[in-house]
């Protein structure tokens, strides 16, 4: 845990969030079983895990909504247990369930936040207008939030979080339930925030999302951190993608298998599984080699690693919906 009063030159390695041995139970159910995590200032950390793995509980504790049973947490250099208000002043939180006032308009919601940050009338209005513009909500600014679509509501939610200009933002499953376009928009917003030096801790069930956004990924399973590293480090631990080639006869399968090293055969389905690193060149090479074989053209499907593969690799068991609170 870093002391924030030390030499400013060490900024790059300072922890915005430092968690040690965090524990939490709900009744008899152990939800967090000694979590450690560090988020360096100005970086994105993704907590990856299925429902019930403890992601939302972790965010709830860091956001001062839930009390921990054990362990220490420092956010923005402040101890969560003794200085919750200083932590609250440094963070912004966008949870899984929309934290907007549905009976107010988009603009009123933003001005409410500005008032609670004591920004003053003119500055509050200016900032609200800026955020409405940036989040493509200007047209709906005067409509009640209850009438917003899911994507609009999520954008308003995040915009409200940004009114106070927080240095650390917690995003709990920011793209769950969003359509692909809204998801892209959300990703762009996250990147933009990081470019401005904001620290982001987000949770996701989606390996692609963690891969896209995060500098570091922590994999949470049954309340334990089973892996923590960069996306590249994590991927080395999991089986890569593969290409499935489905042939029409056994002879073709045999000749292709002889040609392609490292491929595994599924005799019953006449399928050859070829390891694949996701690069276009590798695919082209594979197709060229298949061309040279004088066999009927196989059907081809690409399988990229997903969270199931990560979980299988890290926990040795297939991913199942885990019980209990998130």
């Amino acid at each position: 845990m870093q002391n924030l009063t030390v030499d400013p030159a060490s900024t790059a390695t300072r922890s915005a969030v430092a968690v040690r041995s965090l524990r939490k139970s709900f009744g008899r159910q152990l939800v967090l079983d000694g979590i450690d995590l560090d988020v360096a200032e100005g970086t994105v950390f993704a907590l990856l895990g299925p429902n019930g793995s403890g992601k939302t509980t972790t965010i709830g504790i860091l956001a001062t909504l839930l009390a921990a049973d054990g362990g220490t947490v420092r956010v923005a250099g402040h101890d969560l247990a003794t200085e919750p208000d200083l932590v609250r002043a440094a963070i912004g939180v966008t949870g899984q369930f929309s934290a907007v006032d549905e009976l107010l308009t988009g603009q009123e919601n933003l001005i409410l936040m500005a008032d609670l940050h004591h920004l003053g009338r003119a500055e509050g209005r200016r900032r609200a207008a800026g955020l409405l513009e940036r989040f493509e909500l200007t047209g709906a600014a005067g409509k009640m939030a209850a009438t917003y679509s899911g994507g609009m509501r999520r954008r308003l939610d995040l915009a409200m979080t940004l009114v106070g200009d927080p240095r650390i933002i917690f995003l709990d499953e920011p793209t769950t339930g969003l359509d692909p376009r809204s998801r892209r928009t959300m990703w762009e917003i996250v990147r933009e925030l990081v470019a401005r030096g904001v620290t982001i801790l987000l949770t996701t069930q989606d390996l692609d999302e963690a891969d896209e956004l995060a500098d570091r990924i922590g994999v949470l399973d049954h309340g334990r951190m089973v892996a923590d590293g960069t996306a590249a480090e994590l991927k080395r631990q999991i089986p890569g993608g593969r290409i499935d080639l489905r042939f029409t006869d056994a002879a073709a399968l045999d000749s292709a298998a002889a040609l392609l090293d490292g491929a595994s055969r599924d005799e019953a389905g006449l399928i050859l599984q070829v390891p694949y690193d996701g690069r276009a060149r590798s695919l082209k090479d594979l197709l060229d080699r298949l061309d040279r074989l004088a066999v009927p053209e196989p059907a081809l499907s690409v399988h990229t690693p997903d969270l199931d593969d990560v979980f299988f690799a890290l926990t040795g068991q297939p991913r199942t919906e885990q019980d209990g609170p998130r």
Partner: protein
Amino acid sequence: MTALSLAARDSATMLRRDVRHALRFPMMTVSGITVPVVLLLLFVGVFGHALSAGLGTPLGASYVDFLAPGILVMTAGFAAEATAVNVCTDMHTGIIPRFRTMAISRGSVLTGQVTGSLIRTMISGVLVIAVALLLGFRPSAGPVAWIAAAGMFALLTTALTWLTVAFGLLAKTPAGANSLALIPAFLPFLSSAFIPASSMSGGVRWFAEHEPFTPITNTLRGLLTGTPIGSSAILAIAWCAGITLGGYVWARALYNRGG
């Protein structure tokens, strides 16, 4: 800025939010005065003559003069019921956890709601008095007595609002909050609001003589129509202060329980 002025500023922000809600959905406020107005019409127009005849002199010349202060008490009760439902509904929306993660005065959410309810109930009280005047209510109060009556009504409303805010926080569903808040809404029936406690019988009479709404009703009636008040005023103020304190402590504890 000092902690106190920040708290006042946050509470004012929360009050603006509450007023916006009320203006956007005025039905809750309007429905709060429907029951008292219907009761006023029913008891003055339908039962008025029979009640005056049966009860005789203690009521004086006009039953509406006797009833109007009681209906005013009932208005506070029904308005408080709406408060419980409002608070319960609000507490289950996502904005409340957001407030909890912000560095704002902890009590401001509740203070805003209580102040908003207080304003709405005072307005309801004025409307109910206006209807009573139309029905022939002729209060004898001078300006000082009117101000004292308004003060009594405000005390009552504050007490009931804090109590029903606690109900709203306690209940898991708005329907549950509504049921709990029916207690203060209906207790005036078993008080001196409709007929004098002395004309009741047995256990009901004992209850009516000892429950808070009787001295509160008697005080308001005394102030507005000049009937004797006696020890009712001090009892009424004591009850209101006690309920306010209890409701406030309870509501704060329930609100802070979540975080």
